[in-house]
Symmetry: C2
Subunit: 193 residues, 2 copies
């Protein structure tokens, strides 16, 4: 019997965005602008939901981007944050990005993480989470963020993970609105009840 497999990879269009990216993104806003652009390009190319993410080191070097490819990959796991984390770990050759506490990698997300991505962050070795749009902005266009605990930022803080919210929130939320206005698919699973 042939074993099934799923390949986690960026859409082809991401290559030119990576090739054109600066070697260092000097500040937080430039890093967030890059992930918001990922979310916008993902809509334009029809490769998934309006969400982008990326892992950067503390010098602002881009390690790996991620975009939501749930619909194009037929895989509900492939949120932008999950892709960015998995590809960063592959690139760096370890499942704990902190390298036992030696390194400080940041995950930038164009929208605050859903319940799954929130739960994935402590396992990743990510030490800083930087968010653009709020969960409420995603919910406003119909996306479900899942059963995430109300005190999710504190829960990450308690594990030594710093959380910054509202970095370029307006620009990130504008992409969500654009997605909804242009008839983008809100691909929550059917309500089962």
């Amino acid at each position: 019997m042939k074993l099934p497999e799923v390949i986690i990879r960026l859409p082809d269009w991401a290559r030119s965005l990576m090739d054109d990216a600066p070697r260092i993104f000097p500040d937080m806003e430039e890093r967030m602008a890059f992930v918001v652009e990922l979310s916008r390009q993902n809509i334009l190319h029809g490769t998934g939901g309006p969400f982008g993410a990326a892992v950067f080191d503390d010098c602002g070097r881009l390690i790996t981007p991620g975009v939501n490819t749930v619909t194009s990959s037929n895989c509900s796991i492939l949120h932008a944050e999950i892709m960015a984390i998995a590809l960063a770990q592959q690139t760096l050759g370890r499942y704990d990005l902190s390298g036992g506490g030696k390194f400080c990698f940041a995950l930038f997300a164009s929208t605050e993480p859903c319940a799954m991505c929130f739960g994935a962050i402590p396992w990743s070795g990510i030490r800083v989470l930087v968010c653009g749009a709020r969960s409420a902005d995603a919910e406003a266009i119909g996306f479900d963020e899942g059963p995430k605990p109300a005190g999710w930022t504190e829960a990450l803080n308690q594990r030594g993970i710093d959380v910054k919210q509202d970095v370029m929130r307006d620009a990130a939320a504008a992409v969500l609105k654009e997605y909804a206005m242009t008839g983008g698919r809100i691909y929550n699973p059917e309500l089962l009840i």
Copy 2:
């Protein structure tokens, strides 16, 4: 620039287990015995943590197994449940296993899901979660289950997902103990605080 990629696939040893599996697993205990065996084989082959999972349809047909390959794949995302879900979606060609509410797939997990896998379940279209060992059994040998809400079973129930606990708990927990006693790696990320 070459784009990085991560391949989600079962270890080679899983092939013979799948080839030898019955076409139909008639009852819940036989399905759970299969995932507990996956967790045991994963230890024996040194391919990851002591956790197995599988997606079955409501006739008891095995769709796809999953095992934890965090350490062997260098990917903190690759818990057994995530692998079973992603491979099942790939096999069936859709990111919502419920097919819009038409189908009733069950996820069997040798141990209750961590915070990440809990958050992944509502996105998967899984309608039934069946658990062997308790989170407390995994915690007893040093594994961290993450910031999962206290009322996690009710949170799934509210989304129309049925949860069954303690199915062959003793057998599932025995594998966890065996892993700890034989010096298995407890691969939580370093405490960052």
